[in-house]
Amino acid sequence: MRRVYVNEEWCLGCHLCEYNCAFANSGLKDMADALRGKPIFPRIHIEGNEKVSYAVSCRHCTDPICVKSCIAGAISKSDGVVKIDKNKCVGCMTCVLVCPYGALALNEDGVMQKCELCTQNSDGEPACVRGCPNKAIVFEER
């Protein structure tokens, strides 16, 4: 299955992936309308320091521990993509505790969100990959 991978050798730490992610999941057509003057809640995060940086998002694990941990049955895996049903999430944050990558976080409504490879928004392909200026983020089979 194709996943989002990051080559830290080429990651510039520019944070554009975070903004492209937030925009892709905003449902709006104009980036400035979607993101100007607001805090953003991206599903991918840049980690690291000035020397080494890399983007972290859901690994879509073969055996996802977050699915097992979810007390509300809100997290499921279908077609290889780990997804969250926002209507079932109770915001207990157990998944945050168990995820070894720190790939889950609260959204602006207080429920969990995570990378779903842009399958649930109008982009259709991962916006972080398409917008990465140095091809550090790739969407490929490994």
Binding site: E9, W10, L12, G13, C14, H15, L16, E18, Y19, N20, F23, M31, A32, L35, R36, G37, E50, K51, G131, P133, N134, K135, A136
Partner: protein
């Protein structure tokens, strides 16, 4: 002190309706122009540091930025123009030589743009390169003067060593040190994929790039950095650099702070020591001396590699080239005065040397007149900007062209002409690791391959239009060129007729 103040050359215009304060401009500007004001939640800029490299403009996700030339100028004066006055101010402040980078930006005549190419109509058929074969392959090197046969009448192969190129374009010399590891990696990988050649420049050959040897010209310059037996044998040819179009008659100086790690090892000089290339080769004061170096290099490589002598286009270039052609060199590379550089004194870059078009035509004519044109191949460089420039250069007599500025543009260079600062935001003319990584050779090499493939298509189309189906048939074919707006002396030197003649 107020008399030292210079109003910033550029202004950063930020559209606040579009800016989302993502801070990518701030993170990507090595000159620290942009900053975030947390109290007001807005981006600010210090345009006095801006060099107009367009990195922030290119990466801004909402197209909120533009850089414009300031309209705060001094009173108009055709003699004392703004740039001239600013130079005087800068020198009065610093007491130093003005430094600049890349090619001459002055409004000097560009003869490429004053020559027009012929096409076939009615009496001779054009050729469609999509349907008929079209040869862009060229061989560079000395060509045999006669056919030799053994006692049984079989032809003896007396062909001297040649460079084989799939198209008549090569990436010219840019040293490791003046440009980054990733820029070299991009050039080397693209040259290999295209079947052409790149040039190490005078900084030696990084150990990682020996595998690209057959697509490499190794350079020997006055500083002799990184020159050893394996280096000389690593490439497809050896180039002796006598001069550079952007700065004829002067040497080079890579400051000690850039001589770190790999660069120190590759150049074979201690870390932190200045890499000074003397203006002359201290062992070359005549054509006879040059001949000694040419043959020393041939001895070191068992006469298997062609030797190129690169010279800047200067006033007596035809006589100089005639001497080089008799020195034993296989190829002469001529670099015109609009050629680029990583750093040069501004007034040398802008005022020394002559245009490549005139130099090339003069050299080709001179070598033909003296009957020694087949002793050498000619490479023309120094602002070859497009496929049509290549075609015109071939028609004027070049066997191939060197390009470097165009190659750097493909890698992301925006010609801000501040390479000498070492803070290239595009990861090209810098050795800072966090900037070098901005040039991903996967992207860079692909863009170079795209550019060269595009030029190859265009060269074929232009040649086809003339009814010519090979570079060989175009070479020195000055009947295919006409001058436009040139005086009779210029036409005489170029060896072409005026349009309408």
């Amino acid at each position: 002190m107020s008399v030292e103040f210079l109003y910033p050359e550029f202004e950063v215009i930020r559209n606040s309706d579009r800016c989302i304060a993502c801070r990518v401009c701030e993170r990507q500007c090595a000159n620290e122009v942009h900053s975030f004001d947390p109290a007001r939640g807005i981006m600010k800029s210090d345009e006095s540091k801006c060099v107009n490299c367009q990195r922030c403009v290119s990466l801004c996700p909402t197209r909120a930025l533009k850089i414009v030339k300031t309209d705060c100028t001094l009173r108009e004066n055709c003699n004392w123009q703004n740039d001239t006055i600013r130079e005087v101010y800068k020198q009065s402040n610093s007491g130093g030589v003005l430094l600049s980078s890349m090619g001459n930006p002055k409004p000097m005549p560009v003869y490429w743009d004053k020559m027009l190419i012929n096409a076939s109509q009615v009496t001779n058929p054009p050729i469609d390169p999509l349907r008929e074969p079209m040869e862009t392959k060229v061989f560079l090197g000395k060509k045999p003067g006669k056919i030799e046969k053994d006692k049984d009448g079989n032809i003896i192969n007396n062909m001297p060593p040649q460079i084989e190129l799939t198209m008549p374009v090569m990436f010219s010399a840019m040293s490791y040190g003046s440009i980054s590891y990733n820029a070299h990696a991009s050039l080397a990988r693209a040259a290999e994929e295209l079947g052409i050649i790149y040039n190490t420049g005078e900084g030696g050959l990084h150990e990682d790039f020996y595998k690209f040897g057959k697509n490499t010209i190794v350079q020997v310059a006055s500083g002799r950095f990184g020159v050893h037996e394996d280096y000389l044998n690593a490439g497809a040819a050896i180039e002796i650099k006598m001069g550079q179009g952007a700065k004829p008659g002067i040497g080079g100086h890579l400051p000690g702070e850039k001589i770190v790690g790999d660069i120190s090892r590759t150049r074979m000089i201690p870390e932190g020591s200045d890499a000074i290339s003397p203006a002359p080769h201290h062992d070359i004061y005549s054509i006879e001396d040059l001949r000694q170096l040419v043959y020393s290099l041939k001895e070191a490589t068992e006469y298997k590699k062609p030797v190129i002598v690169k010279v800047a286009a200067v006033h007596n270039i035809a006589a100089i080239a005639s001497g080089i052609a008799r020195s034993g060199a296989d190829i002469i590379a001529i670099d015109g005065f609009r050629g680029g550089t990583g750093a040069a004194p501004t007034h040398i870059r802008d005022n020394v040397g002559i245009p490549i078009e005139l130099a090339l035509a003069a050299v080709d004519s001179r070598l033909r007149d003296e009957g020694i044109r087949n002793n050498v191949s000619l490479i023309a460089g120094g602002s070859v900007r497009s496929a049509s420039d290549v075609v015109k250069a071939i028609a004027l007599g070049a066997d191939a062209c060197y390009i470097a500025t165009a190659a750097l543009l493909a890698l992301g260079c925006h010609l801000c002409r501040t390479c000498q600062s070492g803070r290239c935001n595009w990861g090209i003319a810098t050795q800072k690791p966090e900037l070098v990584k901005r040039l991903n050779p996967d992207i860079g090499s692909q863009r170079l391959v795209n550019l060269m493939n595009a030029w190859r298509h265009e060269i074929k189309e232009i040649m086809g239009g003339m009814g010519i189906n090979s570079i060989e048939a175009l070479k020195g074919n000055r009947l295919m060129l006409r001058g436009i707006g040139l005086n009779s002396k210029e036409l005489e030197i170029l060896g072409i007729s005026h349009a309408g003649e």
